[in-house]
């Protein structure tokens, strides 16, 4: 199994054909989970006695924030695969993930800010989590910008790989330093981190949505990867055949 599996992942054609099917599965699964989870969270989960209904934003904010961070790690894994095994598909994945990662980071920032309005009375607080999320957004932007600036796709991929690896080493340091900075400058009264244990009626829909967003991200990344693979492999025989058949 081992090596064959590896070769398959190295083949853009194999990926393109399979990814179409996986994408379909992921898409419908994500849609079902997200509709269920969001409706449950919005309508069926009990009201938070402290925050009122505004807490219902977590059913979007928390999964998206998780994803934003996980995707950077995923990008780093892709960078390692690209450098160690020179697998072109890893570079394609890196390119798609950077865009999706930025979108999710932006979404989590905006939802966090809007949640902050009723909770803290202001849209933006230099809270540790918001701040490190903001930096993460800049890191994603850097990767996207670097790729856009370099013409040759192979070269752009490697440059982004270097940047992502340097970034992923720094990310925990950034996170911890921002947390420390926050305690240095602000009294702990504004913190939202300490939460009482959630009842199952609250966390089950949250879990559903987390799963839903992860699968939705997989769906989006697969879709974007397919398009990029097609574009990059435009010269190869299988793409020509595929397109002329269509």
């Amino acid at each position: 199994m081992g090596w064959r599996w590896f070769h398959q992942w190295g083949s853009p054609r194999w990926f393109y054909e399979r990814a179409g099917r996986w994408q379909l599965v992921c898409g419908w699964l994500a849609l079902t989970l997200l509709i269920t989870g969001s409706f449950w969270g919005l309508a069926l989960a009990p009201v938070d006695y402290q925050q009122g209904n505004s807490y219902r934003i977590i059913y979007l904010h928390v999964p998206v924030a998780f994803l934003a961070q996980a995707l950077y790690a995923a990008m780093a894994v892709c960078a390692v695969v690209l450098f160690v095994w020179k697998m072109k598909l890893a570079d394609v994945a890196m390119q798609s993930i950077a865009v999706m990662g930025f979108a999710f980071t932006a979404l989590s920032l905006i939802s966090g800010a809007v949640w902050g309005k009723p909770t803290w009375g202001t849209y933006w607080v230099w809270d540790a989590r918001l701040t490190s999320m903001l930096i993460l957004a800049f890191l994603y932007l850097g990767v996207i910008g670097l790729r856009a600036a370099i013409q040759d796709p192979d070269q752009a991929g490697k440059a982004c790989g270097i940047l992502v690896l340097v970034g992923v080493v720094n990310l925990p340091i950034i996170k911890y330093s921002v947390e420390w900075w926050n305690t240095l400058h602000q009294p702990a009264s504004l913190k939202l981190t300490e939460k009482p244990a959630m009842p199952a009626s609250m966390w089950v829909p949250l879990l559903t949505n987390i799963l839903g967003y992860y699968i939705a991200a997989a769906y989006l990344i697969l879709g974007s990867m397919r398009a990029i693979v097609l574009e990059r492999e435009r010269r190869s025989a299988w793409v020509r055949e595929l397109v002329s058949r269509a």
Partner: protein, 63 residues
């Protein structure tokens, strides 16, 4: 456990007093997911069209 938490549908949409924060965020979420899906489809379509054009150009060159 699974019961509707609001007195009526209007109350649900009002989600007093935080409806104006909650609903736009969910709207934005739908917009982002939908927008990315659409962007992917468009990129894919463009790639196919570009390859088709290239193929046609080559055919006219050969003939």
């Amino acid at each position: 456990m699974l019961e509707f938490q609001f007195a009526s549908l209007t109350a649900f949409f009002e989600m007093a007093p935080h409806g104006i924060y909650v609903w736009p965020i969910y709207g934005l979420g739908v917009l982002v997911l939908g927008g990315l899906t659409f962007a992917n489809a468009r990129q894919h379509r463009r790639a196919v069209r570009m390859i088709q054009r290239n193929l046609e150009r080559e055919e006219t060159h050969e003939s």
